[in-house]
Structure formats: C-alpha cells, structure tokens
C-alpha cells in the first residue's frame, strides 16, 4: 500500500496469551513487532530494536515496568519513544507513579478491547 518503512512496536508482557493476541493484532495492522516476556529481555530488545512505540506491562519477572520505564527515559536514544502502559493495576498510586516516570498513557487491560489498544497505538504513532 505504501513504501514507508514499517513502524516498530516492542511489546513487553509476561502473559503468553495476552502477548500472542497483541503481537497478532499489531502484525495484522501492519506493524513490525518485537516482544519480550520479562524486564531484562525487554531492555535487551529495546537496545537492539529501536522501537517507535513500547507497550509495557507493570508486573514483570526480573525487572518491573517502572524500572524499564526509568531505563527508557534515561537513555538519550530512547527517551522520546512513547510508552503505553498496559496493566491491571488501576490504583491511583500506580497510575501516578507511571505517569511521573514519563509514561505516555495508562491503559487498564480489563477495560480495553484489543481494538481500543490498537487505536491508542495508532493515535500515538501519528504524533
């Protein structure tokens, strides 16, 4: 359809079923997708892949979402990448912490359909 290079999305999510669905829908929408199951793998893929957008869970093995967010925002090359938090921790303290650390937006998995997530991704890649 167009010759523009595909936008790259990094999905850091430890639940395999959720990750599979996210990878599939983003792939269907024409994005190039990389995925990681834990915090350390996420940081490795972040360095290797130079994603245009990151979908990030909070509760993760090895390094949690907040630590990853800090790493992203500290890196000169990565600090401007939009980070969309995708979690089920909807308590005010968690939301505030993620936004204070520089997350672009905060989505609660149980409130969002895949279509809604895709819309948010598209919205944030336009800017």
């Amino acid at each position: 359809m167009n010759n523009l290079p595909k936008k790259k999305i990094l999905i850091i999510e430890d639940d395999r079923s959720l990750q599979n669905a996210l990878v599939e829908i983003m792939g269907q929408a024409g994005y190039q997708v990389a995925s990681a199951f834990d915090g350390e793998e996420g940081i490795l893929k972040l360095a290797a892949g130079k994603p245009d957008l990151i979908l990030l869970d909070i509760i993760l093995p090895k390094k949690d979402g907040y630590e990853i967010l800090e790493t992203i925002k500290k890196g000169e090359a990565t600090k401007n990448i939009p980070v969309l938090i995708l979690t089920n921790l909807e308590e005010i303290d968690n939301v505030q912490k993620a936004l204070d650390l520089g997350a672009t937006t905060f989505m609660v998995k149980s409130d969002f359909s895949l279509k809604d997530v895709l819309e948010k991704v598209k919205e944030n890649l336009k800017q």
Binding site: D15, S17, L18, N20, A21, L22, E24, I25, Q28, N88, L89, E90, E91, I92, D93, V95, K109, S110, D111, S113, L114, K115
Partner: protein, 309 residues
C-alpha cells in the same frame, strides 16, 4: 438487645476466641468495673486505712487496664480481618483480570477471521463465550473498584460531560438484557440538560447499575422510565420501574456492601450486591446524592442528583 448479650453465639459466628471477641470483652469489662467499684468501696469502709484503699484502687486499675488491653487487641483482630478481606478480594480479582482479558483479546483475534473463516454457527458459540467472559470481567472490575474506593485509591479522570449521550450508550450496551426481559424503555431526556463535571467511567458505573437493576427487577414485558432533567443547580437522573420492588423493612440496608434484598430469592436475578454500594460510594466523591422510593410488588424509583456546572 438480648441477642447482643448472647456473646458466645456472636463470638462463634465471628470465629473469634473469647479473649479476642469484643462482644465478650465489653461485657467482662462492664462487669469488672461494677465489681471493682463496689470492692473498692467495701475495702475502704472495712479497713478505714488510706494505704489499703490506695493499694486496692491501684490493683483494680491494673486489672481494668489489662482487660482494656484485651479489648484493644480484640478490635485490632477485627480490623486486621477486614484489611485481609479487602486484600484477598484485591489479589484474587487482580489474578482473575489477566486470564479474563486474555480470553477477551484472543476471542477478538478469532473474530478478525484473519487466520481462517468462522462459520455462522461457530460465531454463535463464540458470542456466548464472549458474553459470559464479559460478565465475569464486570464482576471482577466491580470488586476491584469497591476495594479501590474503600482504600481511597480509585483514579478519577474528571471531564465536563453531558449525561444524555452516556445514557444512550448504556441503554445500547444493555440492549440484550432489555430484549431478554422484553422491557420497554421510556426515555425522557431534557434537551437543555446542563453539563456536569465528573469521571465518565465512574458515572457509567452509576447509570449502568441503576438502569440494569431496573430492567432486571422488572416483570417480563414491563417498562422502565429513565429521566434526565435539570432542577435548581442540579442535574437529576431518575430511573423508575414497576417491578418486584424492595420490601419496606429492607429499605435501610440496600446500600450496604454485599446486601441483596429478599425479593431476589423469588425472582432469580444475577448480582452480588455491590452495585448500589458502589453507586453511593462513588456519588459521595462527587458531592452527589442517591435516594429511592420503593414498595414491594409495585416497583422502585431511584434518584441521583449531581451538581450542574
């Protein structure tokens, strides 16, 4: 009153030992205080000696202090159990959120049919899975919202909104239930309704609970009236049904957590008794109010008032 004195039954019900049970400890404390008063009076009368009186008063003080300590411990135990209950609900609900979201998202992938066509018959079954899953998701999200509200950890994204489109959206979301009960929905929405400043997601919980209750507790083929109108500096949201109603003796309890009225046993309806508790708790946060009129077998009218902008 007599029931209150039956502390053994009470303590057993709460699964607490006697010395951890506030009901018993209060009685023991009261009894001890009376005995101590008389004892001290008698001791001071018989011995007519200051030292003996001071020692006996101190001894009594020590005993009351010790029992008082048990009372405090008893209350702590109850308070801890309450915290544990909230934490338990929170942990279980969080744990349920991930698999339930996974079911929902993976169903969505199947629905895209990008990996193969789904037959019309299969679509019906997939739709059944989706509906059941959505019901569980709603229950879990209500439970989590209750815990968050109780702990003061709920998130509020405030906006200026008009309630008419929101009401229309909710009625549309509930169309399956409305169809199932064959209920006629009468909408009376004021065209010049002022906006209100509220979190739309929380307002949705309020309106959804009241409308779905009205539909659920209507008789099949009945009607439900939904009104939105301004009154003084408020916006009123009113939902009326002509269904099973709430027996008068239970009017004082319907906003309690996990309370379900007796009429529900006669008319089997889904729910765990969180809806109205949530409605009231959320409204408190927005300086709103909720009240109702209801009569068994005749129906109920619920009123919500919120400050207009």
């Amino acid at each position: 009153m007599l029931d209150d004195l039956n502390f053994i039954a009470r303590c057993k019900k709460y699964n607490l030992g006697l010395w951890q049970c506030p009901n018993f400890l209060f009685l023991a404390m009261g009894f001890l205080t009376i005995v101590a008063m008389f004892g001290t009076y008698l001791v001071s009368k018989w011995f007519d000696n200051e030292t003996v009186t001071i020692v006996s008063v101190s001894a009594v003080g020590m005993i009351i202090f010790t029992v008082g300590n048990f009372v405090v411990r008893g209350f702590e135990k109850v308070a801890e159990a309450n915290i544990m209950k909230s934490e338990f609900i929170s942990i279980i609900s969080h744990q349920l959120c991930t698999p339930l979201s996974a079911v929902r998202w993976n169903l969505e992938i199947l629905e895209t049919e990008a990996n193969g066509k789904i037959s019309e018959k299969q679509k019906i079954f997939l739709e059944n899975v989706k509906k059941s899953n959505d019901k569980m998701l709603k229950l879990v999200s209500d439970l989590l919202e209750v815990v968050r509200i109780d702990q003061g950890r709920s998130v509020f994204h405030m906006e200026n909104i008009n309630l008419v489109p929101l009401a229309e959206e909710i009625i549309d979301d509930l169309r399956h239930l409305i169809k199932l009960k064959d209920v006629e929905v009468i909408k009376k929405f004021d065209a010049n309704l002022p906006q209100i400043y509220i979190d739309p997601k929380k307002m949705k919980i309020i309106m959804e609970n009241l409308i779905s209750n009205a539909v659920k507790y209507s008789y099949d083929g009945g009607k439900v009236e939904i009104k939105l109108y301004p009154e003084k500096k408020k916006v009123l949201f009113v939902v009326r049904d002509w269904g099973v109603g709430i027996p008068r003796y239970q009017h004082g309890r319907i906003f309690e957590k996990f309370f379900r009225s007796d009429n529900k046993s006669r008319y089997r309806t889904e729910g765990v008794g969180l809806g109205l508790y949530l409605v009231k708790a959320i409204l408190k946060h927005f300086s709103g109010e909720v009240w109702f009129e209801s009569e068994a077998e005749k129906g109920s009218t619920f009123y919500v008032s919120l400050p207009a902008i």
